[in-house]
Amino acid sequence: MKTFNPDAMGEKLLRRFAGGTSRRGILARLGLALVAAPAFPLLPVSRASAAKPDRSPEAKTTFARNAQSTDDTKCTYWRYCAIDGSLCSCCGGAVNRCPPGAEHSPVSWVGTCINPDDGRAYLIAYRDCCGKAYCNKCDCDGTDRETQLYVPQLNNDVIWCFGTTSMEYHCSTAVLVGTA
């Protein structure tokens, strides 16, 4: 006779388990879970998308925390939170105006920036100025709310010189188009 018989021990364990549990019990519990599960999404839960946008300093992006509203020839100027390229204000134009000889693109992408003066969010259209060689002064790359290139309407790497006579990129402006 063996002193240690794992086979018999396993059999004994399983038989005791089988005797003490009900095979239909698992069906009942599974059924209950199936019926009860759809009720849970109806419970009041706090949804992030339903909440008001949080404008507290902690919720701001690094850009918004360091933004200023006095010098529009610096990358930290608040409207440049999502600009990519040369600032027209350094290239003979202005924050919202093309330099002489460059043409405003009628299309652009639209970003959302927070004005540090009143703490409110504004919609900014980054309209490119086109038809002259690249200005290459004050190169900035703000990336607030920017997405990957496969969502082109929310990507700032795209050159937005569509609808202009030339697709050559010169510089970018930041035109205030509305409140967010």
């Binding site: 998308s49 919202n96 105006r97 405003h104 693109s105 009628p106 299309v107 652009s108 992408w109 639209v110 959302t112 003066d117 009143d118 409110r120 504004y122 919609l123 259209a125 309407q153 569509f162 609808g163 035109v175 205030l176 188009v177 509305g178 409140t179 967010a180």
Partner: protein, 179 residues
């Protein structure tokens, strides 16, 4: 109580002033006024307007026109597509509408009513009913992702010209365009 009211009024005035001074120097950035007759067609007309600016105006322009960019012009003509139930559904099935980042269908209905009745001016046929959240919920399940959008647009434009007397230029992206 009184001081708080004065403070609120002052803050509102300051907000309005700062926005108007910011806007004073801006070229080509003015959204159209929302006519009083159109306001009841939207739950929140101001939100519809800022949603349009944020989601659509980059390409379509804040007033619905970015001529001469190669885009269908919205201003004063999109309403003709409310002519038949099919062309009405087309507006909601356009890929960037159906796949919009707006998940709330009532909010998307508001946006589209802003497009049709504010930017579209008087182009919607008389008696056109505004989009509802239920209609958006139903139609955005069938985005126009296969087949030619340009061909579908042309087919429905021809129908609007025949049935609702839309101008013949509706076939083009904008009056006078080559496409």
């Amino acid at each position: 109580m009184k001081t708080s009211a004065v403070l609120i009024a002052a803050a509102a005035l300051l907000g309005a002033l700062s926005l108007s001074t910011l806007r004073a120097a801006e070229p080509d950035n003015h959204s159209p006024d929302i006519p009083a007759a159109v306001r009841p067609m939207m739950q929140d007309p101001e939100l519809a307007q800022s949603d349009f600016i944020e989601q659509c105006a980059g390409c379509h322009g804040v007033r619905g026109s970015t001529v001469p960019a190669h885009l269908p012009e919205i201003k004063d003509r999109v309403g003709w597509f409310m002519c038949t139930p099919e062309s009405r559904a087309y507006l909601l099935r356009l890929p960037n509408v159906a796949h919009s980042r707006l998940t709330d269908n009532a909010q998307l209905a508001d946006l589209m009513n802003y497009v049709v009745f504010v930017l579209g001016g008087k182009s919607a046929p008389a008696g056109t009913k505004p989009f509802t959240a239920d209609e958006v919920t139903r139609e955005r399940q069938f985005p126009l992702t296969s087949g030619s959008l340009a061909a579908e647009r042309l087919r429905l434009a021809n129908e609007a010209i025949r049935k609702c007397r839309a101008p013949a230029s509706l076939r083009l992206q904008f009056p006078g365009s080559a496409q």
